[in-house]
């Protein structure tokens, strides 16, 4: 993996939550260009809240979030849209869009007031279609796609938006194992070859361990962050779930159900 050494995202002492209710605090991590990072943790620990905070959808409670060395709150929605793209759990409001139309919307931050696509925009759209194997589906409507195909379209749209940071909220839900691996592999390729920094939340801890460059574990206390192998050695996965139900196997990097 090529490292540039430049921090795209830098989080220090961040607390997240809603109003007076703190969901998680003391979150610290840095992400360099070209890194694929997974955020894991049990339900309700604040994965989505963290993503919504980083995406600018809700304010942080305290701490510093630096995106390309500039505080996140200093960005306007227009300037932010060129640095950060998101893929949310909610499906697109209109399923009547074609694959190509949906991906083309990713170019909005760069188009004029009427949204006219330039030659460069069209090249970007074509590159996204090709990268996610969507060229044959380009004229299909979104309601005709399977969950796996739709997820690929949404990621392709984020790629067309051409931002340094891409955030994804649970990109692997509703997918079978094959498509989970497919989408994560494609994210890995996007991160490593296009030097995009990608942060996603997931319940697929075993896949995350195998594919990610960094993992952030939200455990409600220290929120360990680092290389997957290091985290295994430091036994951070052992305490992720209540141990009477599942146990982490250090040899295989998988969870075993207690019988």
């Amino acid at each position: 993996m090529a490292k540039t050494g430049k921090n795209i995202l830098s989080i220090s002492d961040v607390s997240i939550g809603y109003g007076t209710k703190t969901v998680a605090k003391n979150i610290n991590f840095d992400l360099e260009a070209g890194m694929l990072c997974g955020v894991v943790g049990i339900n309700g620990i604040g994965k989505s809240t963290l993503l919504r905070t980083l995406g600018g959808f809700q304010p942080k409670l305290s701490g510093n979030i630096l995106l390309n060395d500039k505080p996140l709150e200093k960005y306007t929605s227009t300037t932010l849209s060129k640095e950060l793209s998101v893929i949310l759990t909610e499906p697109p409001a209109s399923k009547n869009l074609t694959v190509q139309e949906l991906i083309a919307l990713g170019r909005q931050p760069y188009t004029n007031w009427l949204g006219t696509l330039t030659k460069e925009d069209k090249q970007q759209i074509q590159a996204s279609l090709d990268a996610f194997l969507l060229d044959e589906l380009r004229n299909n409507k979104c309601h005709e796609l399977s969950d796996g195909q739709l997820q690929r379209v949404l990621v392709a749209r984020a790629m067309a938006q051409d931002t340094s940071l891409i955030l994804l909220d649970e990109p692997t839900t509703h997918l079978d194992l094959y498509h989970k691996v497919q989408i994560l592999k494609m994210l890995q390729e996007l991160a490593h070859h296009k030097q995009k920094t990608i942060l996603f939340t997931s319940h697929e801890i075993e896949l995350t361990i195998q594919l990610c460059d960094r993992i952030l574990i939200l455990d409600g206390k220290d929120h360990p962050f680092g290389d997957p192998c290091q985290l295994i050695e430091q036994k951070h996965f052992d305490t992720l779930f209540p141990s009477e139900m599942v146990q982490f196997d250090h040899e295989t990097g998988t969870f075993k159900v207690n019988k």
Binding site: G55, G56, F57, S77, T78, T79, L80, S81, K82, L84, S85, V86, L88, E90, P92, A93, S94, K95, N96, L97, T98, Q100, E101, L102, A104, L105, G106, Q108, P109, T111, W113, L114, G115, L117, H143, Q161
Partner: protein, 343 residues
Amino acid sequence: MQGSRTYRFSFILMLLALLCSLLLNISSGSVTIPFPDTMSTLLGETPEIASWEYIIWDYRVPKAFTSILVGAGLSLSGLLMQTLFRNPLAGPFVLGISSGASLGAAILLMGTSIFAGYTSLSFLGDITLSIAASIGSFLVLLTVMIVAQRVKDTMALLIIGLMFGSITSAIVSVLAYFSSAEDLQRFNFWSFGSVGNLSVNQLLLLGSIVTVGILLSIVSIKSLNAFLLGENYAQSLGISLKKSRLTIIIATGLLAGGITAFAGPIAFVGLAVPHLTRQIFDTMEHKVLIPGVMLYGAILMLLCDTLAQLPNSASVLPINAITSLVGAPVVIWLLVRKRKMMF
């Protein structure tokens, strides 16, 4: 998105259809005027019978242009609402915007004489009526928008729109109970809908309102397209939610409110035309859809008005009844054929 070039042929066909329905509309009416004479009168010649010139220029032409404005404007407002509320069933009628306008008109036409003791409405010009109706529709639109912020469920939004309709009709019934027969009749005629009674000045005013609505919609094309992904995605694409939402609401309010004020509540055009247009233009790109729905709406309204004007008869059917008779089956047909309504 696909270039508009692909749709050029459809647009040319629709423009031709618009021209044909315009001529058909002008040449039909309670007084039979032979088609060649209609044409020559339109081209500036003096017809055989002097009254024909008056009928065509002072009555039929303004009526035809009102139909075009009403059809195009209502369809556009329907398209804006369907995109803004992410709901295929949204339209000025369903969301209670037309009911709001009715309430405004009813309070003015029937309420003033009850509460303020005015016996005559002669001093209340039609301009006052349109202002009252516009205020009514704006108030409902704003309420619906505030509710839409809190209630994310689009189904609930439609139910709230229907409830507004019920509240309005209840208040109207109460007002009707206490008002004089004259006032009641005046309100009833307004609620039948009509495109035929506008003076040139009113037509110009309506034209300006619709033009502003259209311009605001054109400015919103980019944000409308982004809204197709949902509001969170739109924001992440650099769209200022507050500003664009407000622009779209003002455009919708001007279009639906202004038109309802002048032409009365006209059902189903706003709801049905966007869906019909998508049968021709298979795209969600608003650059194509906005001119598309306006053309389709204008054609449909001209044809409905031609139908309402029973040939060779002095009677004119209420336009609202015609649009419902045409529109409701269309919505049912779309639902049955596609099994699911999408926007």
